[in-house]
């Protein structure tokens, strides 16, 4: 419990630092956002009025705390381009991106652990080459190309779905999740290959340890040794890797949404980047960063559940 409390403190401090960095990053940008919103022809009065409206006339540290307290309450500021609250713009889109992210993550975990164990049980030299080659090829395919291939094979050749024919979870959860299976798999496949590689090498190095010999000396069957002894030890580094994956998967979803025309935050993020609509980008970046920090927190908790040695430190 003490460990969890300590990690929770770290979590809050990290979130605070991340928010500060995200805020400051968008303060160093040269140029006045009001020029961009009103055009260069606007009068000085109009610009001052707009600045006051957006709160840009106050000192940086006050603006930061106002922005932060707004953020905590779910008020992400006002879009420069559309003059509407960013939270309204994100409300429909963010859940979709998160559903896709969580689904891809679930696929990654569900597929990679059994495959990793299978690959880790194969110790012959021939199998080593075969597994490594398959792994390398799978890792080399960018997720968005897997997505395109999936569209081509399942959309065009077999006509199992219509790319772009997305159904929101508000209408039908089943149809929504069904549509997301292929996008989620596209994101997951390269991650699965990486995780399998990681788990395999972890299993192979654990299998040579003394405690495995001890387990054998007690009459354990090979499978029991793997399940009861090796796996828990081998999973320790994989947990860290999966936490990193969760972050990468979130950015992966942003790309895949474009391939499958899923109305998540992707399009909004891209148009905001092109239109230099900073409050929107800022909000999305902070949300993604918060997600990453929270995933790492969960990984830390899992870590100490699996590895008793951590609790001492």
């Amino acid at each position: 419990m003490k460990y969890a409390a300590k990690k929770l403190c770290t979590l809050i401090i990290t979130l605070f630092i991340v928010s500060l960095l995200a805020f400051l990053a968008f303060q160093v940008i040269p140029g006045d956002p009001t020029t961009q919103m009103l055009g260069t022809e606007a009068t000085e009065e109009a610009r001052a009025a707009l600045r006051a409206e957006l709160g840009l006339d106050r000192p940086v540290h006050i603006r930061y705390f106002e922005w932060l307290s707004g953020f905590v309450r779910g008020d992400f500021g006002t879009s420069y381009s559309y003059r509407i609250p960013v939270s309204d713009m994100l409300a429909d889109k963010l859940p979709i991106t998160f559903i896709l992210t969580i689904m891809s993550f679930a696929f990654t975990v569900i597929l990679s652990i059994p495959l990793g164990i299978l690959a880790g049980s194969a110790r012959s030299k021939v199998m080593d080459v075969i597994i490594t080659v398959i792994d390398q090829i799978t890792m080399s395919i960018p997720a968005f190309f897997i997505g395109i291939l999936a569209c081509f094979i399942f959309g065009n050749i077999f006509a199992l779905f219509v790319p772009g024919d997305f159904v929101s979870y508000k209408e039908s959860w089943g149809a929504c999740l069904g549509y997301m299976v292929l996008p989620a798999l596209s994101i997951a496949i390269p991650r699965v290959a990486m995780t399998v590689r990681m788990l395999r090498s972890s299993i192979l190095s654990e299998s040579d340890k003394d405690y495995v010999r001890t387990a054998h000396s007690r009459g354990n069957h090979r499978r029991a040794i793997m399940v009861r002894h090796v796996l828990k030890n081998a999973l320790i580094p994989v947990i860290t890797f999966l936490a990193v994956s969760a972050a990468e998967i979130m950015t992966g979803s942003i790309i895949i949404e474009q391939v499958f025309t899923i109305p998540g935050i992707s399009r909004l993020l891209l148009t905001s980047i092109s239109g230099r609509d900073f409050p929107v980008v800022q909000a999305i970046v902070v949300i993604i960063a918060a997600w990453i920090v929270i995933v790492n927190f969960v990984a830390d908790l899992l870590y100490q559940l699996v590895d008793p040695r951590i609790r001492l430190k």
Partner: protein
């Protein structure tokens, strides 16, 4: 075991060697001009005249792929070069001198690597604006930590070796020890880091260009071509397939190469 490690090295070396040769060829000569429009030859499937077919404007896809791969390749090289040079500088100082600068720089690098490089590149591009130079800069900065970390580890290890200690006793200067005595020892590890970094650069660049925030026209990139090709998936599947295959081969070659190098370094 040794022979097998080299198997990956051979195959990876062959693929990346061929790709590099083709790309270099593409700088000087392509079968057609990558931008030549030909309305009489739209959406032609692969044939002897157009080995990868033609696109929606009748442009030769093979020529465009060579051209795009060339841009991708150069961007990846620049990104790796930035990451490598600054990474080596920072890593060697941290690893050899240690102390407070080491602590600070390691923390900074750790916090940068905790976030997906893609996301940070997006932020940098948002702030600096979309341009090819900014992409290179953004990705280059993001690649520094991983190189710095690798080099730092090697320097910290080498610092304690006896021959370095004896070099110090003979009165060799800090920088001479760092760059004449230690640096060459890190080359094998560094080379692996370069191949992995190159792959990540290709992938990041392709992803960003795919989203339209990477290389801007008139430059072509494999990522933006793939994005274009998606609209014609039904009429001209070879467009997407050929472009994708080139990206895969580019990445696969270098990742097999790094696998082979890693196995060779481990000594199996």
């Amino acid at each position: 075991m040794k022979k097998k490690g080299n198997l990956f090295l051979y195959i990876g070396g062959t693929i990346s060697g061929l790709m590099t040769a083709l790309i270099i060829l593409g700088f000087f000569w392509t079968p057609y001009s990558p931008t030549a429009l030909d309305s009489s030859a739209k959406f032609q499937p692969p044939s002897a005249a157009h080995i990868m077919g033609t696109d929606n404007f009748g442009r030769d896809i093979f020529s465009r792929v060579l051209d795009g791969a060339g841009d991708t390749f150069i961007i990846a090289l620049c990104v790796v070069a930035i990451g490598c040079v600054f990474g080596v500088l920072i890593g060697s100082i941290c690893g050899y001198i240690g102390g407070v600068p080491d602590l600070i720089l390691t923390r900074v690098c750790d916090s940068i690597t905790a976030f997906p490089s893609f996301l940070l590149a997006l932020v940098i591009v948002t702030i600096l604006g979309k341009s090819t130079a900014n992409i290179v800069l953004a990705l280059g900065i993001l690649f520094i930590p991983s190189f710095a970390r690798t080099v730092r580890g090697e320097f910290a290890r080498c610092r304690e070796l006896n021959y370095i200690k004896s070099a110090r006793l003979t009165g060799a200067g800090k920088f001479r020890i760092m760059f004449v005595h230690i640096l060459p020892n890190t080359f094998s590890v560094l080379f692996t880091a370069v191949t992995i970094g190159f792959n990540n650069a290709v992938l990041s660049e392709a992803s960003m260009s795919f989203l339209g925030i990477g290389i801007q026209p008139p430059f072509a990139s494999l990522g933006s071509m793939l994005s274009d090709s998606q609209a014609y998936l039904h009429r001209a599947p070879w467009y997407a397939l050929c472009t994708g295959a080139v990206i895969i081969l580019l990445i696969l070659g270098f990742s097999l190469l790094s696998e082979g190098l890693q196995r060779m370094n481990k000594g199996d």
